[in-house]
Amino acid sequence: MNHADDRFLVSGFSSPETPSAQAALSPMIVGRLLRMGMRSPSRPSDKLIDRLAAADAHDWLAQALASDRIAGAKADTIASGGWSIVDLDALKNRSKALTLSESDPNSRLAALAGYYLAIAAAIVHHQRLISSQPKAELASLFADLGATAPEPWATLLGKAAVALGAA
């Protein structure tokens, strides 16, 4: 009898009506799932993800983007495709500069949001990648941001992640 080579039946642990009950975990799937338990090295965006998980994230993000130093009065049209590729590229560069020059942590996070949303909007609405970051990293990042961001930003980030081939 060789239990270890057998597919591990999740049904032993779940009630029959749950999705888990129908799965049998091969060693390959077990390894892949176990690997998900590892934390990736911390990224600058992790603090933004945490900020977007807060209860007041929608108001905070709207207010942050509406700042004249970031997107200004037209901020709410970024997600709906109201910005040209030239304007998005300028927004990305302006925001990037602010992430480096701002001393206030909250303002840096706001600028980081502008930076990533500009890149996501360029991908979704103009099919253009205006960042030199590897696609896989961006796809993973957009998926993580989208999981906590309020609408309409979550949809924009999700679409960008899919366009970049997010797993």
């Binding site: 009898m1 060789n2 239990h3 270890a4 591990f8 999740v10 032993g12 642990f13 779940s14 749950t18 999705p19 888990s20 799965a23 975990l25 060693p27 799937i29 077990v30 390894g31 892949r32 799932l33 176990l34 690997r35 998900m36 338990g37 590892m38 934390r39 998926a143 993580d144 989208g146 999981a147 906590t148 979550a154 949809t155 980030l157 999700g158 679409k159 992640a161 899919v162 997010a166």
Partner: protein, 230 residues
Amino acid sequence: MSATPSPTRPRRSDVFPATQLTWIDHHLEEGPEGRGAINAHIMSIYRWPLSVYFMGTRDRWLGEPDEVINGFFADRLAKPNFLDDWRASGLHLRHWLINAFCFYLRELRRDRARRQTDGVMPSDEVVFQGNTRDLDRAFVAGLVARALQAAEHTCRRQGLAAHWQVFFDHFVQGRPYDQFVADLGIDAARAVVMARTAKKKFQDAVRDLVAKDHPSGDIDDEIRSLLEGH
């Protein structure tokens, strides 16, 4: 261990610095109720790996795996110092349990020998004869299955059942998003971020279980080590 520490016996927080107190330590401080929670955790996670190990030994004649494992848990987990001794050993819990299990098998052999052969001992050694690699692989499979169950429970409790469904279909069943998201009334972009939410719950569950097996270890290092042996 009683809820009120004996004056002659140091509290766990005297033995282990407060900053290192873990889920298991805190439950031990709670007395019988906390010990019950620990025992339930141990039996749910380690029953399967111990069964795998037992089936790889020459001691299979001692009984059905469930019967032997139940006897082992009943005997050892009732000992007041069993978990204290484990924490002091620095071993992974699964390895501590296997050591104890091998001694328990020797006790069973002695007991059978006394009853069946008029006291003639066939073998009185503690033998580590099972395959510990199989044990570790069974531990990993059980841990992942338990983490799936815990994360699913968390998602359902938090109103994220649909998120869990997407995560499960994609990451466990291996189905591409575009093959099933239409059935759920969402698009792929929504599915990607929903799966991410559930994935975080699963990650937390895995890390929690890994930490309980080796509280003083670095969790990422522990996972890396488990992956190498997997």
